[in-house]
Symmetry: C2
Subunit: 395 residues, 2 copies
């Protein structure tokens, strides 16, 4: 049979990164290509203990159908957790449990956009979000960075045009792929612009709790008094991604629509994960857990950065991030990045080209993204040394 696929799904390809990851299932390859949290940081003992107890005491609650909004106990615990240091959940808001933050990206575009509507993202940005927006027929337009911050003038130019975008997608903390942190000034400016032009902000905060240096900057959601911001809080990076649980906080009129989207998408999220995480948030000291976690990430980041300083050609530009999972590395324009990546893979080190994070991947990009959370310390030392030698051959 000759299949006629839909237009919206014909615009996107399989994620280049996930394809690279599949190619690197070879265990002899050192991968800096992934975006996996450090397995060292998973609270294994707690998950084991809670899971065994739940399966003993209330197995049916883990196995029967649940409600689309999410498990009530998890909703209460997640609300306490998210509101512990700032006001994320406002009076008019509700919290919805989703199957990872990825689902929040899809619900936002599905519930707000008709075919051909415009969605704005930072450029570069998380490819999974860009593809989710395109997969529902939206046109994605990227807003560039200027001195490490979203270019607010460019944003206003785009917003002031006649055809308004439906929403702006941002990752203010330890942005993927660049690792940058949006300043408080820019957060306030884009919120004011969103209000002025009647545009929603989708604030994705998967890495906010992976800070190991510097002070916390208030989320845009906490600054919003007008129901402008949809907030996506992943639990993948701070508990475990295989559990596929995230929280979406937004005005209840939005959540009501998202619940309908959830009913027709996967009915509800896995209940074992929901119940285990609810108990984990309830019974364990999250501040201590997040502190342990930040120590691991700091050590790994510092190690990679030190090795890069030592081994990389001095013309290569990179900053030490204050949190998150990535270091963004920019090469002189003379370097052929694809050739560099190919040669690195021949030497059994995998990295991701920066251009896969561009809204239009035909644009030029002289950067790569390195992940420091997944590899072991030994892999970081060995892999960076290999990449370092290569930089001297190619720069």
């Amino acid at each position: 049979m000759n299949y006629q696929f839909s237009k919206r799904m014909s615009t996107i390809k399989a994620s280049a990164i996930r394809e690279i990851l599949k190619a690197t299932s070879d265990p002899t390859i050192i991968s800096f290509a992934g975006g996996n949290p450090s397995a060292e940081a998973f609270p294994l003992d707690a998950i084991r203990k809670i899971s065994n107890q739940l399966l003993e005491k209330e197995p049916i609650n883990l196995l029967q159908y649940g409600i689309s909004e999410g498990d009530n106990e998890l909703i209460s615990e997640a609300e306490l957790f998210l509101n512990r240091s700032e006001s994320i959940i406002k009076e008019n808001d509700k919290l919805l449990i989703t199957s990872g933050s990825q689902q929040i990206m899809e619900f936002t575009v599905k519930c707000f956009c008709n075919d051909g509507d415009i969605v704005l993202t930072e450029n570069p940005s998380f490819i999974g979000a860009i593809n989710a927006f395109k997969s529902q027929g939206a046109k994605v337009k990227g807003i560039g960075f200027k001195n490490g911050q979203l270019d607010v003038s460019e944003l206003e130019r785009v917003l002031s045009k006649k055809i308004k975008p439906k929403f702006l997608y941002v990752i203010p903390n330890f942005q993927n792929p660049m690792g940058t942190v949006m300043s408080l000034k820019v957060r306030k400016e884009i919120l004011a612009l969103a209000k002025k032009y009647g545009v929603i902000i989708l604030e994705d905060n998967p890495y906010g709790d992976l800070r190991f240096e510097g002070n916390i900057i208030p989320s845009i959601k906490s600054l919003d008094k007008d129901g402008i911001v949809i907030y996506a809080a992943s639990l993948s990076k701070i508990i475990a991604p295989g559990m596929r649980i995230a929280c979406c906080v937004a005005d209840k009129a939005i959540i009501e629509r998202f619940v309908v989207a959830k009913q027709v998408s996967d009915i509800h999220s896995n209940l074992w994960s929901q119940k285990v995480i609810a108990k984990f948030l309830q019974e364990y000291d999250m501040d201590n857990h997040l502190f342990q976690l930040s120590q691991i990430y700091q050590r790994k980041c510092q190690l990679m950065y030190n090795q890069m300083k030592k081994h990389f050609h001095p013309d290569i530009i990179f900053n030490k991030p204050s949190g998150g999972m990535f270091i963004w590395v920019t090469f002189p324009k003379s370097v052929d990045i694809e050739d560099f990546i190919k040669k690195a893979l021949d030497l059994k080190v995998a990295v991701v080209p920066g251009k896969v994070f561009l809204v239009d991947d035909k644009e030029e990009c002289h950067s790569i993204r390195l992940n420091f959370s997944t590899p072991t310390d030994e892999q970081i030392i060995k892999g960076i040394s290999i990449l370092g030698k290569l930089t001297y051959n190619l720069v």
Copy 2:
């Protein structure tokens, strides 16, 4: 802020059944409204044992990111299981693990339909599927039943029109809500029509293994040699729905597109569930498990049917199903069904009006759906007696 939601999501409402179920969280209400499998049938000991072992031996495999296609071990086990008595997975096919069958409904419409394209369903049909199709902008057209079988003449009339539907959604075994089984003759006829007119069939088979009487009829997928059928095999009804795992089998060109849809929808399905189910399929005697399960369903079905025969007014029409979870009950046209349902709820018995399963819920419908898998035996006896008295008051 004044939210402007998308057109596609404005056409559907929250599931009437899920709303009824929320309303019936009152434990004193006897609910025949749900579609939950019998909790008696969950393989609790096996799940507990496997889960504890996996969390001890390979916790990281349950907690780290996985691949979108699904866990390799589960894919192999599911292929063996689905192909155990007929040829579901053909040479050109692949199997994708999804977060319940609901996700297969959404992927099919998302990957095949542009805004305004036509999707055909049996009428009445599973409301979650109808809503999933509408939520992606498709126009849903229902094909009626004639003498308990899909009206094939009506189907051909619709298929022969100039504008072709993109696919036909059917539940051949113990249809939801009617409990009917599509005959082999009709299965062959609709497959031939689909081939003739170049239309995909989405075959949803959540209840096929819940047969307690009569002979197995070959699936449409097993009859298909041309890559026409997308097959949805839920594990919710035969293992546990809270785990949210199903299998989709289709031509590899279709699965390739569905994998991209999966990446942007929820990246991958929960790994604990995938791994536990893989081991369950591998280590336990599924034939025995399904036999135990069918015994439970047969007992509950027989009990409800006997009680209905005893207590219901003789003008009310219903058949004893040979499998599945539902009995479809049709009242004389003189009875005000909404009034019956309201009065039943006042007496603390919840049932679902048949009209919520219609493609156009403004059509008339004099039926209700009763579920026999969720209530206990005592609840069946008490609840049917209450409904029985009400039938004598109202008919």
